[in-house]
């Protein structure tokens, strides 16, 4: 793929991912990942101090699907809407057959009184594989600057 085309695809992948979660299509979320994917959410203060401290740490797509079932059928959490702003998408290097990329995010939650608040600001650190419109995350590390969670964490970021 030529650089401009790849960049368009990676941006489109990020936008599709954001829309999937903003529209609460949880069942589709694991499909953005490879079977052997790694997905984790790590508060930035831990990362900066060389600590794991993950809020969530999943190392295959089965774990992602379990999260979806649990969120849909079992866990109880705040009733809310989500809205993601994704920007600063950059491809920063090669990773075997794939690419290393990053992007900034801002997640806004709106509660069932209609009040919106910033839930999390941070950065995606990605390893992406595939081509021709079929890009997937082999790894998506969510690094949250907002290292104190407002209330609680339910949906993926």
């Amino acid at each position: 793929m030529i650089a401009a085309e790849l960049e368009r695809e990676v941006v489109a992948l990020n936008y599709r991912y954001a829309r999937c979660l903003d529209e609460n299509r949880l069942d589709d979320w694991p499909e953005f990942f490879t079977d052997d994917c790694r997905y984790y959410i790590q508060p930035r203060d831990n990362r900066d101090h060389g600590l794991e401290g993950y809020w969530l740490y999943f190392e295959n797509r089965r774990m992602l699907r379990d999260r979806v079932v649990s969120l849909k059928e079992v866990n109880i959490y705040q009733i809310h809407y989500e809205r993601r702003m994704v920007s600063n998408v950059e491809i920063t290097g090669r990773d075997g057959e794939g690419w290393v990329a990053r992007a900034n995010f801002l997640v806004v939650h709106t509660d069932n009184e209609g009040r919106s608040k910033i839930f999390s600001a941070g950065e995606y650190r990605d390893r992406i594989v595939g081509a021709g419109g079929g890009l997937r995350f082999r790894e998506r590390a969510v690094i949250a600057d907002t290292f104190t969670v407002p209330s609680h964490l339910s949906m993926p970021i």
Binding site: P43, D45, V74, N75
Partner: protein, 419 residues
């Protein structure tokens, strides 16, 4: 109770000495919150400050809070632990700005007054003036301008402080069942694997009650029952200490009835859902007595818990009458094998701000606090599960620890009880 209460909020009234009714106003009264700072947080109690594992070297420090008061725990050049209030004796600015680090001395940015690890004032710019101008009066005594200090004690590497210098020892304050859990969980060297923080819109005591609330475990946290992890019918115990203020809840597994293995074998209990990735709940036995989980809450704001193989401390930090921060300090043992570390990392998904077994607490507490607030603190919570008694129990179908907590709280706060 001598506080002048905010108009419109009823004086907390405890109708019965069995503490089966808890006045909602205790969660929303700003005057009561102030009184708690005086009588609990600056009173005769011990408070979590940090871990020796966080302070291996002289000069290492961690910043924390005792109630709303910012404090710093230091390891001095003498290797001893010291703690002071993080408030410059000159003009009141926070002296230490980082959450943790290493420093030879601590210097306030404002006018560069500097302090040693014990909080002694050791540096004062322009103390004798410049070219005959300014300077402090001749009777200025640096030793009278140190930082306010706390008495510090450590038990099995967990460090606590108190403003009550003549306080009983930390070990005596804990009492036998609490010490037993520390001995069981903190006898080996530990390593901190991370800090998790959440800011919850609710009074800090709602979380303390929640920690003592055996009733909600399998109900609110449906992951337990729907995935066949834990049932209220499981063998357990409820033990109190410290005049009812501390509490140790424990569950035990039978051979065929353990988290993880229950899940894997299913057995007689059919979970509603199957996990595709059971590695999240699979655990290894760590205790000879079959203990699967234990949650120890040490009054006022400290928790030591093992849930399956997940190990952690929790620190509740009140921010205002309506808000508290919950800090999870997760740890492993320094001599853990790779397999142990893997299990603990996987089970990390169970706890914390987004954990399968814990995310609901914040939602439940915020729902409670919001309605208590909107109703002006009127009315009482009803706390009669397991009857009206106050004794230790050999099961978890009870609200006894909530009742004993409020009894101890009222005594410490000097609140009138009954009618």
């Amino acid at each position: 109770m001598s506080a002048v209460l905010r108009p419109g909020i009823p004086q907390p009234r405890w109708p019965a000495a069995d503490f089966t009714q808890v006045p909602f106003s205790v969660h929303i009264d700003p005057a009561l919150f102030e009184l708690e700072q005086e009588r609990i947080f600056r009173g005769r109690t011990w408070h979590y400050l940090g871990l020796e594992a966080e302070l291996p070297n002289p000069g290492d420090f961690v910043a924390s809070y005792v109630g709303v008061t910012p404090v710093v725990l230091n390891r001095g050049k003498d290797g001893q632990l010291h703690a002071f209030v993080n408030r410059c004796a000159h003009r009141g600015a926070a002296v230490v700005r980082e959450k943790r680090g290493n420093a030879a001395t601590h210097t306030c940015i404002y006018h560069q007054w500097s302090y040693d690890h014990k909080g002694n004032l050791v540096g004062i710019p322009y103390r004798r003036g410049i070219n005959g101008n300014g300077g402090y009066p001749a009777d200025f005594k640096p030793e009278e301008h140190g930082l306010q200090t706390l008495r510090v004690e450590s038990y099995r590497g967990v460090v606590f402080g108190t403003f009550a210098k003549d306080m009983e020892s930390l070990a005596d304050y804990m009492g036998e069942p609490v010490r037993q859990r520390f001995d069981a969980l903190c006898s080996r060297p530990i390593r901190v694997v991370g800090y998790q923080r959440q800011l919850i819109r609710g009074n800090w005591k709602l979380y303390v009650e929640n920690l003592k609330d055996c009733y909600h475990g399998a109900l609110l946290h449906a992951f337990n029952s729907k995935f066949g992890m834990f049932r209220t019918s499981q063998r357990g115990s409820t033990q109190m200490a410290g005049n009812g203020l501390h509490c140790v809840l424990t569950t035990y597994g039978k051979k065929d009835e353990k988290m993880g293995s229950t899940y894997a074998k299913v057995g007689t209990y059919k979970p509603a859902f199957q996990l595709e990735a059971p590695e999240v709940v699979e655990y290894f036995e760590e205790h000879d007595d079959g203990m699967v989980s234990t949650v120890l809450s040490l009054f006022p704001t400290f928790v030591l818990a093992q849930i399956a193989n997940h190990l952690g401390f929790r620190h509740i930090i009140p921010k205002s009458v309506d808000e508290f921060e919950l800090v999870w300090i997760n740890f492993v043992y320094a001599d853990d094998t790779e397999e142990h570390l893997y299990r603990r990392r996987m089970q990390g998904n169970l706890l914390g701000p987004g954990g399968y077994l814990s995310m609901e607490d914040a939602e439940a507490l915020e729902l409670a606090h919001a309605t208590i607030l909107s109703q002006g603190g009127k009315g009482h919570a009803f706390v009669e599960m397991g009857g009206r008694e106050m004794a230790d129990q050999d099961h978890l179908v009870t609200e006894v620890p909530i009742r004993t907590f409020w009894k101890g709280y009222c005594e410490l706060m000097g609140m009138r009880v009954g009618a």
